[in-house]
Every structure is written in C-alpha cells, then in structure tokens.
Symmetry: none
Subunit: 192 residues, 4 copies
C-alpha cells in the first residue's frame, strides 16, 4: 500500500536530513511513488511529519507500557524504561532525535503545537510511572515527578548521543548500566 511505503520512506528521509532538508521529491523517490501520491495520502509535508512523530511516541509508549504490566519493583521499572528508550535511540538514532529535539522552531505553528503536546504526553506518561512508584514504594526522592522524567529523557538523549559518536568507548550493556546508575542514584533515597 502506498501509505505505508510513504511513511517508511519519510522516516528514512526525515531521519537522514532533518525536517527542512528532507524534500517531498526525495520521499516520493524513496517510496517509489509519484509526488502526487504523497499529497493524495497526506495533506502536506508538516502533516506527514506529524504522523511519523506521533507513531514514534505511541510506539515507545506502548512498548514501555506493555513491559510494565506485571507488578515490578520500581528499580526494575526504571531499568526497563531506560532499556526501551535506548532501543529506540540506538536503533533509529536520527528518528529519535527528530522525535525528541526537532520539535523546536521552523515547523508550521499548528503542527508544532500538536507535536509539543505529544512530547508533553510522553513526559507525563513517564512521570506517572514515577509518581505511582513514589507513592507505593516510598523509594523515590521527593523531587517533582515531571522534572525527574525530563531529566531521564534528557540524560538518555544526551548520553546516547555521546555513545554514538564514540562507538568503541563502551558496550551497549555498559551504557545501560552507567545510565541506570546516574539516574537512579539520584532518584532513590540514600542515607547522606
């Protein structure tokens, strides 16, 4: 089906070039459809972009949620959150960069607003997991859950970035462990 081919191609092209340098011509070429077919299936470039980002957010939230269904200690929950996000970040580096960072300027105002909303929802999704854990287990430091969630995302994004430009510095497992340590040792209550 054309729609799927287009989305697959668009992910590629947006990932490789960023929103602005990605051209509809290139996407059509990559999807092996005519340019008009893009506009038959999507209202325009920004809407196509939105669709993709939306799917990305939903994808990672679903994957995370599915894995947290069973009752798990918060430590394990955070580990899994980190693992899923690392999967996304490392498997499709540019795509995740788009999802988490390219939402700043230079996109049509209305679509931008929707995308920011999506990002907020993702953050609240993580925050709610933390909040639940904080209440139930009393293991988390008394920090605003939203800020904590923001910190997790920022740390993941930034460390992955570093990891990817230093491919031989440590293994994927090391990275996971390091990040877990950095995050949790600040989130778990410790005797000072």
């Amino acid at each position: 089906m054309s729609k799927d081919k287009i989305i697959r191609a668009a992910i590629e092209v947006f990932s490789e070039n960023g929103y602005h340098r990605a051209s509809m011509d290139e996407i059509a070429l990559r999807a092996q459809v005519a340019k008009g077919t893009l506009y038959y299936n999507f209202p325009g470039k920004s809407q196509l972009f939105k669709t993709i980002v939306k799917e990305g957010f939903e994808n990672i939230m679903q994957r995370t949620q599915a894995d947290l269904n069973a009752p798990l200690p918060i430590k394990e929950q955070i580990l899994r959150i980190i693992r899923h996000h690392l999967d996304l970040f490392l498997e499709s580096r540019h795509f995740s960069h788009i999802v988490f960072n390219e939402l700043s300027n230079g996109i049509e105002q209305d679509v931008l607003e929707e995308l920011k909303q999506l990002r907020r929802e993702h953050l609240h999704f993580l925050a709610s997991i933390l909040e639940t854990a904080k209440c139930e287990e009393n293991l988390l430091r008394d920090v605003d859950a939203n800020l904590a969630a923001a910190s997790i995302i920022g740390t993941l994004e930034s460390t992955c970035n570093y990891y990817l430009s230093h491919p031989n510095a440590y293994s994927r497992d090391d990275l996971e462990r390091y990040v877990f340590t950095i995050i949790t040792q600040g989130l778990f209550i410790s005797i000072d």
Copy 2:
C-alpha cells in the same frame, strides 16, 4: 561596526526561527545593513551560523571557568556549573537550543563537523572539571566523566525546556535546587 550588528541580529533570528527558517534577508533587515554586507563579512549562511555557535560555547565556557578559578569544593563547582548553564538556557532559550540541539542534520557537512567538534570540546571541558574533582576529592561515583557530563547537559536542557513551558510551576531557585539534587545525588557517593 557592521560585523557586530550582523552577529547580534543573526543570534536573534536564528534563535527565533531555527537554522533553516532563518533567512539572510531577515538578518540583514534586523542588522540594518544591506544583504550584500552579510556576504562581505561572512562567506555564507552556514559560516555565520558557525561563528555564532562558537561564540556561544566560548562564552559559557569562559563564564564557567572564570567562576571556578578559586579552589572550591566539587559540590560548589557543580552548583556553579548548573547556575551558569541555567543562566544561558533561561536567558536565551532558543539560542541555547540551537547550540545544543540544532547541530544534528541539515547543515552543510563541513560546518556541521566543526560544530560537533565544538560540542565535544564543551563536553570535555565539563568532564575535565568532574575528572579533576573525582581524583582530588574522591567524592564522585565511579562513572565515566564524559557520560556524567553528557547527563548534566541533557538534564539541564530537558528540565529547562519543561520549566519554560510551565512557567508558574516553580521558581527559578526551586528549579536550580531540584536539578542540583537530581544530578548530585547520583554523582556523589552515597551509602546504599
């Protein structure tokens, strides 16, 4: 002098619109110089952008360095690092976003390479401060200093972002304290 006027205007325009939506016309207009003057002073758009990002990095590194000249405990050093970065992030939100995030795709390859190098240098600058502290004071957890630095930057960037879209949630001082807690409680050794 024209060069200064151009740089000031360019910071504004790049900040407000991102790299691609910023136009040389707009920059010339804001700088109150003719379009040709831009090309008299800078080889092109990407070079102008590079100049600005470079100045941004140098600025924050200088400000931080200057404040760390006196011998200070690591806790105080980190607090000051956070404070300077919050200053930069909150005072010129979009500019810092450019500096820390817009360096991904869609910029001319050669300039992009230089910018990534700058970002690496900034990260290493922070990492070296941490490294020194780790050796001298043995207060820091045994985590790769570069990853720790990346985590700090990511956390700052991400939490500021949240803070700015929820202006009334907490005060600037609260934010500073929260971020400090999140970062340090993971970086300082604690008895588990």
Copy 3:
C-alpha cells in the same frame, strides 16, 4: 442519475469559483459521486463547463421565447426580455457572469470557440426580436440590431453588477424600471 447530480454540482462550483478555481474534486464532492464518475459522464472539465453554459443560454432563450409567443407590442417585449435577464442575473449571479463574461481567455481553444458561438447565437436571438419589431412597428431607432442587442446585454450585466453590490440602493422593481428607461429611451424614436 449521476449526470444530473454532476451538472447541478458543477453549476454551483463554477459559479462560486469561476472556471479555473473550480476543481473537479470539489464538483465530485458536491455531487456525491466519485471523481471517476465525472470522467465517465463527461470527457473532461472544459466539456462539462461547455454543457453547463449551453444549458444556461438555452434556458434563458427558451424562457424568453415562451413569453413572447403571443403577439405583443415591442415595448412589452423589451420589458419581458429585461425581466427574464434580470431574473437570470439576479437569481444566479455568478452563473450568469460565467455565461456572459468568463468566455474570454484561458479555456481550451476548441471549447472556447463553441462557447463564443453560443454567445453569438444568443445575441442574434435578441437582435432578431428587435429586428422584427423594427420592421413591423417602426418604433425602433435606426441602429444596427446586433449592436442594440449587445448594448442591452451589456447594460443588464453592468447594472446588475452595480445593483448587487449596493443591495439597499433601490428595489428590484426600481432597477427594472430604470434599466428599461435607459434602454428604451435610446431605442425608441423620439422627437428631438
């Protein structure tokens, strides 16, 4: 039947948007048929347009003719011509604008030629009524009947236009009377 639905929808859309801005998509949407159905029933956009214009001309000529079947004094005949044209012009303003004015440029050459022919026929139809009256009653000034007919159409078109953009200036009846006066006092012989 699809054909009728299409024609009704097409009249609406052409009227509201003019030939070029009217899109086949919009017509199909309004007619509640699939786009392909348009091309099943009509060879293309210009032919569909031609069909509509043709029906418009035939409609007004029939209405006028029907009303002039009984032998009437020329004064009454002209009044009825005016009345029928005002009906058409005022009831479906844009449609009549299309019929009388949009036949100039920018339509496929072959269809355009046919449409101009239709306009000529309409003009000759009016002219023949005037000509008959001139011979039989000797009440009309010695002016070329075709020019006189052209003048009537031009006056109707132009005054309706004015009337429609000044809705409260005079009543429909006033307009009819004024136009009648303007036209006839130039067409009837008067002692100078």
Copy 4:
C-alpha cells in the same frame, strides 16, 4: 529597468491568457528576466495583477479627466468619454477585458476586494461627470447617475466585444456614432 519590463510583459501575458492561465514563468520569459526578479519586484502574482489593473484604471481616468478640463457641453463630454473608452477597449482589447471583467472570482480575496474598489471608483468617476452635467444643464434624464454610468460601461464593453468579432461590419467611426446614439438618446430628455 526590470520593473517596467515585467509590467509590460505581464500586461501581454495576462491579456492573452487571462489571470489564471498566465504563468509567472511565461511573464519572466517574456520580460527577459529571471523568475526571481518577478518576486524581487512584486510580492506575488496577484499583486502584480493588481498593479496592472490599477494602472489601467488610472490611465483611462486621467486621459478622460484631462480632456474634460475645459468647460464643454455634456453632449461633447459624453462623446469624449466614449471615445477614450473605445480607444482603451479597441487598442488593448484583452487588457480592458481584464480590467472590466476578470475581476469576478478566482483571484485572491484581498486583492479582489481592492480591484472591485477600483472598479467602483471608476464608475463613480463617470457618475460624477454625469451628475455635474445633470445639475448644471438639466439635459439628462432623471436616472440614477451610477446606474447610468454602469450602463455606459456595459454598453461600451459589450458593443466593442461584438465589433471586434465582426471586424468588417462597420468602421470605428460608425461604431462610435452608434454607441453615442444608443447611450445619449436614453440619457437626454426627449419629448415622448
């Protein structure tokens, strides 16, 4: 100068093709400038069109006004109005068609509104000449001056149209005389 070349070319192209079929490429080609030069000098297609129509209206109003400076009997004034409009209509047939008819649909709403305003001003200009004459000389029939002006324009437009498609029917002088008769015998008071 580029601006002049563009306007000259645009008049040609708009006249030959109507607003929608006229392409900016064609105008640039005809003007022997690059496409970008069009947009350097005019904000867009509709604005370019507006400029041209505006100049057309101003041109004919100026020419007419200049010729009516000396105090003339109304009969002579109307003759001159007719003459100037015939000049415009016959010399640049398509241009005048644009000016007087292509202002209906399918042009950007804001520009369309301005153009309609121009047409209204032109009509009021003619109406004011008639009004003055009516008051001063008491020679004009008691018909609303605006409708009378509309009638003149409509008659001129429509008869010229006919004249141009029947080039050999009568001479330009005949046309002028006929039109003058048609118009004035309805405007001058006559004993019925």
